[in-house]
């Protein structure tokens, strides 16, 4: 996993992205906010969603309750 370490904690990139997601943002907005390339944001967000740490909504991505616990 690129966003979750073997001990279950989050990578720095995952933390930085999740902290932006109190309100829904799309991948382009996240990339612009955190200064990361879009491809990397899309990849990490896919993993965060598949791990239940973020939710994919119509308006973009938002941190889940599990994600908030992990931060």
């Amino acid at each position: 996993m690129a966003c979750v370490k073997p001990d279950g904690s989050l990578t720095e990139t995952a933390k930085v992205l999740l902290r932006q997601l109190e309100n829904p943002l799309n991948a382009e907005e996240i990339a612009s906010l955190v200064g990361q390339p879009l491809f990397k944001v899309r990849s990490v967000m896919r993993e965060l969603v598949s791990n239940g740490l973020a939710l994919e909504l119509e308006g973009g991505f938002q941190i889940s309750s599990k994600g908030k616990e992990k931060l």
Partner: protein, 217 residues
């Protein structure tokens, strides 16, 4: 016990959609669609920890900031493990003082190499040749360049091709031999007699004949 055969080798074509993939890279799992909306230079190298490839990686890393300004990302590939990629890029940073800022696909099962025709069995069946695919924002293949194992790539030429393609898309023009940004561009030949006559009367163009016209952008 039967061994799995290598995946079939296919050759993409200029103007065709780039074959989609999902691959493990030195920066996590990436899909081709993750690059949608921007240009992508997908390139393969024969093997990690080899000298020509190391010079190429340093040259690509040097070019990367310029490419990003042009909304273009880099994605490397070889038939090596992700651990080998991590060790190699760390070694390049430590020994050569060059940070590798782009992801590299660990294509151990040759899946992406097979999709993009990166293996030249006459040269090697275990290594990818030095292939370059320039893919546009809509994920269409716009240029393909192949180099043999022994010849390191000219990254300035790869940049020049990208500049030419973006100039073509923006202005509806073509670019002549050895074109560089700032040089005159070629106006595509007229398709009808009427267009040829209009072209001949256009004082903004430098025409040698009705079919051979250039202009400054």
């Amino acid at each position: 016990m039967e061994t799995n055969p290598d995946p079939p080798i296919t050759f993409p074509r200029i103007g065709s959609p780039a074959p989609p993939f999902e691959a493990v890279t030195s920066m996590g799992t990436l899909k081709l669609e993750d690059f949608k909306g921007g240009w992508l230079i997908l390139f393969s190298h024969p093997a990690d920890f080899t000298p020509v490839c190391t010079t190429e990686f340093m040259a690509f890393a040097k070019l990367h900031p310029k490419l990003r300004e042009m909304n273009c990302e880099l994605l490397g590939l070889s038939i090596d493990s992700v651990y080998s990629h991590i060790a190699w890029v760390r070694n390049i940073e430590e020994k050569m003082k060059v940070k590798i800022t782009f992801p590299v696909i660990a294509d151990l099962n040759k899946e992406v190499a097979g999709l993009y025709g990166m293996i030249m069995p006459g040269e090697s069946t275990t290594e990818t040749s030095r292939c370059v695919f320039i893919i546009d924002e809509k994920q269409v293949i716009r240029a393909i360049i192949y180099y043999p194992l022994t010849t390191g790539r000219n990254t300035e030429e790869i940049l020049r091709v990208l500049q030419a393609l973006q100039t073509t898309d923006k202005n509806g023009v073509a670019t002549p031999a050895n074109w560089r940004p700032g040089d005159e561009v070629i106006i595509p030949p007229p398709r009808t007699q009427e267009m040829a006559e209009e072209r001949s009367a256009d004082k903004d163009l430098k025409c040698k004949d009705w079919y051979f016209c250039k202009k400054k952008l």
